[in-house]
């Protein structure tokens, strides 16, 4: 039982990280019809920004800030204007292909320029066990991850629901044409979405890299899990991505404990297939109009 509780908390911690990646992915899709097949690489790369910054002698916390800013600059603004911008009016396929190619470029760049080896990444809080309840000890690092991720998600929710800009962003996500008529500066909202996505990806990167190590090939798994979380939760809204992320995280950790390690990776995929078969609109999603 206590084992289960520990697994649950560990699962929620990784799940909260997955949720960060999934939220950005969902926002981007809704606001600018950009399906980012490089999302996993977006989560993989910022850790290397931080590692490079630390190599240059910048202290840990400052390096994290540098990583977030670099990520917003390159994976946010530059992605918006250099990659997505020229392709938006070209139909869906060129954009899909471009993000796939971008994923490969990011992955190969890290491998060729930095290293093909997995890199140790420092944790926010020390990896020391603390006793929560009698018999239930969990790692302080995990608590750190959970707290930081939840604060980030909470902050984002507050921003989206509680500020004027956030509500304008939501309006843009729901219906760009109507939003434009209502006087929402749609272009700026789309840029904000890209920046937020990059920021969330950087947060996820900083939180996940101490657990799985920073490696060029991490994007494949992380991207897949972000897609699965977004679809399982329901594509219509941010809370779907949060729920999906947490669910996948918990399942993933339970699978690691109770299913063979060889097939641990398969669990979220099977979940995805089940959801598409039996509840295609996602667990929290609303049924949309008929898709012809």
């Amino acid at each position: 039982m206590t084992d289960l509780l520990q697994l649950l908390i560990a699962g929620l911690a990784t799940g909260a990280i997955y949720a960060l990646a999934a939220i950005g992915f969902t926002l981007l899709w809704q606001t600018s019809q950009t399906i980012n097949f490089a999302q996993g690489e977006f989560v993989m790369v910022p850790a290397f920004f931080a590692l490079i910054a630390m190599k240059l002698g910048i202290p840990y916390v400052a390096a994290l800030v540098v990583a977030i800013l670099m990520s917003m600059l390159l994976l946010g603004a530059a992605f918006r204007y250099a990659v997505v911008g020229p392709l938006l009016n070209r139909g869906v396929l060129p954009l899909v292909i471009s993000t796939i190619a971008l994923g490969i470029i990011l992955k190969e760049s890290v491998k060729d320029i930095y290293s093909a080896e997995a890199q140790v990444f420092p944790t926010l809080l020390p990896d020391r066990n603390v006793t929560l309840l009698p018999g239930v000890t969990i790692s302080l690092a995990q608590i750190g991850v959970l707290v930081v991720a939840l604060i980030t998600i909470g902050g984002l929710q507050w921003f989206l629901a509680g500020t004027r800009t956030g509500r304008q962003m939501q309006a843009t996500a729901q219906n760009p044409t109507v939003a434009r008529i209502l006087g929402v500066p749609v272009e700026r909202m789309i840029l904000y979405t890209f920046l937020i996505n990059a920021g969330l990806a950087a947060m996820a990167s900083i939180l996940v890299s101490p657990i799985y190590l920073a490696k060029f090939s991490n994007g494949e798994t992380l991207g897949l899990i972000a897609f699965v979380a977004a679809i399982v939760g329901g594509f219509n809204q941010v809370r779907g991505a949060i729920a999906g992320g947490l669910l996948v995280g918990v399942l993933d950790n339970l699978a690691a404990a109770y299913v063979s390690t060889a097939y641990r990776q398969a669990i979220p995929l099977i979940l995805l297939v089940l959801v598409i078969l039996f509840r295609p609109q996602g667990l929290l999603g609303r049924k949309e109009e008929r898709a012809v």
Binding site: I35, I104, D112, I231
Partner: protein
């Protein structure tokens, strides 16, 4: 008729490329073993790419699992071959099995909305790779399967690189013709319609979901059959060429060749097979360069190489 003659001429030229013509008094020594191997690999890749083109270029969907389907065909053929099953049967079974899997994956995914097929195939791709890697007893795991026999055709052994090339060329020709026939038929018209405007196509009685599903399953079957040829070609298979990365490369190659054009997959497969050979000196940088080229291409010429060639031909004929 003209198309037919051009196709025939092309087939003859392709058949002669690896052949030693010095015996006929021509100063052409043909290709060495490795050159012939690369040429065969190009054909096999092109078959799988034709399938992707049907899915992407004609039906307007995305598939991220073509390499996995190639893998299914390859493993099936390799394993069946070790149990003495004739190649013809494995080849047909590869096509049939991948077609059925295509239906099973596509049916639920296409009920939902655009792009769901991409995610379902993505998941399937990873699942297949896990099975290829983990089911060591059947697939040999990371150690792979060795010494895959090349088929024997009516008592004629196809061990020789050149004979095997001709065999693959013949199959490619037939499969190209079949696809050409489909694309020229009313089905092709329905594909174009549902890609350009699914809503309108549906209102004209075109069962968009069914046609899309058929295109997807046929595309998967082309992948499976390409895999069935791939196994005896390379004679050794392990999970790595059937992972997610190669599936993504299939998408890229079709688009770089020119998606929705008939020659596109051949051109794209040519680029994908030859580029790593040319860039051998920069081995590690090859993927990076390739992906960067694709991105530039998407921004400047989304029609791919074939589209680009068409535009330049049209410009020259005012």
């Amino acid at each position: 008729m003209r198309t037919f003659l051009i196709a025939l001429a092309l087939l003859v030229v392709l058949a002669l490329v690896p052949a030693d013509l010095t015996g006929l008094g021509l100063p052409y020594p043909g290709l060495k073993r490795y050159g012939t191997y690369i040429l065969t690999l190009w054909l096999v890749t092109a078959i799988a790419a034709m399938g992707v083109n049907l899915i992407v270029g004609y039906a307007g969907q995305e598939t991220l699992a073509q390499a996995a389907f190639v893998g299914i065909g390859a493993y099936l053929t390799a394993i069946a071959g070790k149990h003495g099953v004739p190649f013809g049967i494995s080849f047909a079974a590869s096509g049939l099995l991948t077609f059925v899997i295509g239906i099973a994956l596509g049916f639920p995914a296409l009920r939902v909305q655009k792009h769901y097929l991409a995610f379902v195939t993505l998941a399937f791709s990873v699942l297949c790779w896990l099975v290829f890697r983990n089911e060591t007893a059947i697939t040999g795991g990371v150690m792979g399967l060795r010494d895959i026999e090349r088929p024997i055709l009516f008592g004629l052994k196809l061990r020789n690189a050149q004979t095997f090339y001709w065999f693959v060329l013949a199959i490619t020709a037939v499969m190209t013709f079949v696809l050409w026939w489909i694309v020229q038929s009313p089905w092709g018209r329905a594909f174009t319609a549902l890609r350009e405007n699914p809503l309108r196509a549906e209102s004209l009685g075109v069962d968009v979901r069914l046609y899309t599903l058929l295109a997807f399953a046929l595309g998967c079957a082309y992948g499976g059959m390409a895999g069935s040829l791939y196994a005896p070609l390379v004679e050794f298979i392990d999970p790595s060429p059937f992972a997610l990365g190669p599936s993504l490369l299939f998408m890229l190659m079709v688009v770089i060749g020119g998606s929705g054009t008939f020659a596109g997959p051949f051109v794209g497969a040519g680029v994908a097979v030859l580029l790593p050979e040319w860039l051998r000196a920069w081995e590690t940088w090859y993927l990076l360069i390739y992906a960067a080229l694709v991105m530039i291409m998407m921004a400047l010429f989304p029609g791919g190489i074939v589209g680009l060639a068409r535009v330049s031909v049209r410009k020259r004929q005012p």
